[in-house]
């Protein structure tokens, strides 16, 4: 059926009224008008598909060209407008027929090395903001027709493109369906980043922990796919989401797999030690100095008391001050360009650290404890988890000041119960510790040699 409208061009231009970036190109002798956004299309594609074919031909040859397969006939005004918005060129012939030609070439940065999730050994590239490039990075790694890609649009206004990837036969179809439902329930005007989207998906929004795993590394996403998880990509976001998520995924780095198993195992052990230090070190200091002096050996106790003797505050205030300074430094460091960032390091590390002790604001030992716990918090490979742990640390410090070790254990139990009762897409968040699965522990707490993974 032919969609006949005498004023097609006028109507479309009416819709794009006040959109000065809309480019109109006319071939008057052929009665052809081309509408597109110049910044969404590639110059070469425009030349090859539009300008060259319509140059130097007669009007009776136009129909032959329009029959080419890259010309898609459109009948609906909405889809024509959407086509232009998606980076297609709209070819209007005799003001009644409309065809779209996809010449979309987004202007994005080129693929570069991962900056947040860096590795020592292994691939360096990271996702970029263009969803097509991101998808190609995954397709390039999994050359199988079993890798399925479902396409969605998110955001009533932004119409952001979103892909849902899974491997048929490995991923359970129930999981895919459940995630599809969850995504379709999201009702928002627009979304900028995948890390925003995951917060809409959260089952327990009040939890301090990230409930979905996001990564900027295509190699990590690929391995998640192979493990039977579902991956989401969002246009405009250099991240991918994977689900079901486990707490322990945030403590894994591709380095564990690319290096020898013994190093992988030991560095995981180091990370869990860092987890314990970052959560409890400052709280332990507060508990010891406020309640349980007796656990410090006599030789050490002497130094301990000497360093605290000049401090006018109680240990809680002291610890909170120093922890807050560290947080200030970290936040300032994150916002500043890297060149000025170094200055912050010097100011923070040397000036504030030394001066705070000399001015009697804080004890030496606390500065050491807080620095160690700050360093430990950055051992955790995923920055989003680091943030959660830092918040938990403050809670532990306050609890330690209320009831010493009992306060710490109280907070710890609450934390564990919370982690154990969290669920993500039907799977327990604290897997494989709860529910306990010895088979999966081989790749969680330790990283066993690959030969051991075979069943």
């Amino acid at each position: 059926m032919m969609y006949i409208n005498k004023n097609l061009s006028e109507q479309l231009k009416g819709r794009f009224d006040d959109c000065d970036d809309l480019v109109t190109k006319t071939f008057p002798e052929l009665e052809i008008e081309v509408l597109f956004f110049g910044h969404l299309v590639g110059e070469e594609e425009l030349r090859n598909n539009i300008i060259q074919p319509f140059s130097n031909i007669k009007i009776d040859e136009v129909n032959n060209i329009l029959r080419r397969k890259e010309f898609k006939e459109e009948e609906d005004l909405n889809s024509m407008a959407n086509g232009i918005l998606e980076g297609k060129a709209l070819v209007i012939f005799k003001n009644t027929l409309a065809y779209t030609v996809d010449i979309y070439v987004p202007k994005t940065r080129s693929v570069s090395a991962a900056e947040i999730e860096t590795v020592i050994v292994g691939p360096k590239e990271a996702f970029i903001e263009d969803i097509g490039t991101n998808l190609s990075m995954i397709r390039r790694r999994i050359k199988s027709d079993r890798l399925k890609v479902l396409s969605y649009k998110i955001g009533t206004l932004t119409q952001t493109k979103m892909y849902l990837l899974y491997i048929e036969g490995i991923t359970s179809s129930v999981l895919v369906k459940e995630l599809q439902e969850k995504i379709s329930e999201i009702d928002i005007k627009g979304i900028n980043d995948l890390n925003q989207l995951v917060q809409y998906l959260d089952k327990k929004p009040l939890s301090i922990f990230p409930q979905y795993f996001t990564t900027e590394r295509p190699d990590v996403s690929t391995s998640k796919l192979l493990e039977g998880r579902v991956i989401c990509l969002l246009d405009g976001s250099p991240y991918s989401l994977s689900t079901p998520t486990s707490f322990f995924e945030f403590f894994q780095s591709p380095d564990d797999y690319n290096q020898r198993w013994i190093l992988g195992t030991l560095s995981r052990a180091l990370r869990f030690a860092a987890l314990a230090i970052t959560l409890f070190a400052s709280a332990f200091y507060v508990a010891v100095s406020m309640f349980q002096y007796e656990i410090i050996p006599v030789k050490l106790l002497h130094e301990f008391i000497k360093s605290r003797s000049d401090v006018p505050f109680n240990p809680l205030i002291e610890a909170l001050i120093i922890e807050s300074i560290i947080e200030l430094l970290r936040e300032a460091g994150a916002r500043l360009p890297s060149k000025i960032g170094q200055t912050i390091g010097i100011v923070g590390g040397i000036v504030i650290g030394t001066a705070a002790v000399e001015a009697g604001f804080s004890s030496n030992i606390l500065i050491i404890v807080v620095s160690i716990s700050a360093i430990s918090s950055f051992v955790v490979p995923h920055i989003i988890m680091t943030a959660s742990l830092r918040i938990a640390r403050f809670i532990f410090i306050i609890l330690a000041s209320i009831a010493g070790f009992f306060g710490i254990i109280f907070g710890f139990i609450i934390l564990l119960i919370h982690l154990c009762s969290l669920k993500n897409m039907g799977e327990y968040y604290f897997k494989p510790i709860a529910p306990l699965s010895l088979k999966d522990l081989k790749d969680t707490i330790i990283r066993a040699p690959y030969q051991f993974f075979k069943k």
């Binding site: 656990i295 410090i296 050996p297 050490l300 009831a403 254990i409 109280f410 139990i413 119960i417 154990c420």
Partner: protein
């Protein structure tokens, strides 16, 4: 509503963690005072008796094919439900009082050892908050937490190696049960240290049906016996009998002896790690009183647990001092001991009667 189930191997952790409680700290002392020289031997026969008890539970599990014991009781005849309702309510209240008393006892000991100036009601309330939070998460989370707590607290046992150089067989002497004071009272007291295994009775519908899954209860009990035995033997080898009878908490004293380069007096940390075990014991009793009361009233879990804990808290309020709380606890555990013996026997009678009437 289909129950979510857990794998039978969790029964190991549940049994061990529920049995192990605050009694552990004073166990060598009560063994020494009641049985005298080489009293640790008595752990073995009592453990065997408890094994037989668990055997009875295993038989019940086999016969009622994983259906809940409430169904077993109520299926006896149509009027049974009317008769057992008051029983359910009183048992439920009893267990909630028992669990609050256990909590209070732990807090008393903690206050006595480490927080002499703090008001103990705070600690009791904190414990009840934790219990409330854990119980209302449901049995699967309780089971998972139990397992994690096990792995957090189990490595403490390796600290015993620290005492090997100071261990002396001379302390054991050649006497057996000399200087014992109250032999039968001792048996009761050691038996109560093993209490907790009976909560398995209430878990039947939540255990996934697998062959020979029940053996894990035995393993859990044997592990408890092993820990009791080895710690008591070490206490006997480390102290003289006179020292043992004079220390209220010999295990705490034992831990005070440990010194490392950076840390000493580990007892305060270990004692607080023990809180994990005590919390599980409390939680299990609150949980069984929750599911018992659920047979009677149709309230939400949150409300039931809140009411139960409130009742338990108010009921134990008059018992202020440590001495009063200990005497209350021993009275309640004696009742619980009676329940742990009678309940399996009663259930077996019901099951056999049903089988006979069914031909």
């Amino acid at each position: 509503m289909q129950n979510e189930t857990f794998k039978p191997f969790y029964l190991f952790f549940i049994t061990y963690m529920t049995q192990m409680g605050i009694v552990f700290f004073s166990l060598p002392n009560s063994i020494a005072t009641h049985f005298g020289y080489n009293g640790w031997i008595m752990i073995i026969p009592i453990s065997v008796v408890v094994c037989i008890q668990i055997g009875l539970i295993a038989i019940i599990y086999r016969f009622n094919k994983g259906e809940s014991i409430f169904q077993t009781i109520e299926s006896l005849n149509s009027k049974a439900k009317m008769i057992v309702m008051p029983l359910y309510i009183s048992l439920s209240i009893f267990w909630s009082i028992l669990s609050v008393t256990i909590a209070k006892h732990y807090v008393h000991v903690m206050k006595f050892l480490y927080f002499p100036q703090t008001d103990m009601q705070w600690f009791v309330l904190l414990t009840l908050i934790l219990t409330f939070y854990l119980v209302t998460r449901g049995i699967i989370t309780i089971v998972h937490i139990t397992t994690i707590f096990f792995f957090l607290s189990a490595p403490i046992i390796f600290l015993l190696f620290y005492f090997v150089p100071d261990f002396s067989f001379l302390q054991f002497s050649t006497f057996l049960f000399n200087e014992n004071t109250d032999f039968y009272g001792g048996i009761i007291e050691v038996y109560t240290a093993f209490l907790g295994f009976e909560v398995i009775l209430f878990m039947f519908p939540y255990i996934s049906k697998e062959k020979s899954g029940f053996k894990y209860v035995f393993w859990g009990h044997l592990y408890t016996s092993f820990v009791y035995l080895i710690v008591t033997i070490f206490c006997y080898g480390f102290n003289s009998i006179q020292q043992l009878t004079r220390q209220v908490y010999p295990v705490v004293t034992l831990m005070k002896y440990i010194e490392f380069e950076f840390i000493e007096r580990l007892d305060s940390i270990i004692f607080i790690l023990f809180y994990l075990k005590v919390l599980i014991t409390i939680t299990m009793y609150v949980w069984i009183s929750l599911i018992t009361l659920k047979r009677v009233v149709k309230w939400s879990d949150n409300l039931i647990v809140f009411v139960l804990l409130a009742v338990g808290y108010l009921a134990t309020l008059p018992f202020v001092t440590k001495k009063e709380s200990i005497s209350l606890l021993s009275a309640l555990t004696n009742v619980q001991l009676f329940i742990s013996v009678i309940l399996p026997l009663l259930l077996l009678m019901i099951i056999f009667k049903k089988r006979r009437s069914n031909g």
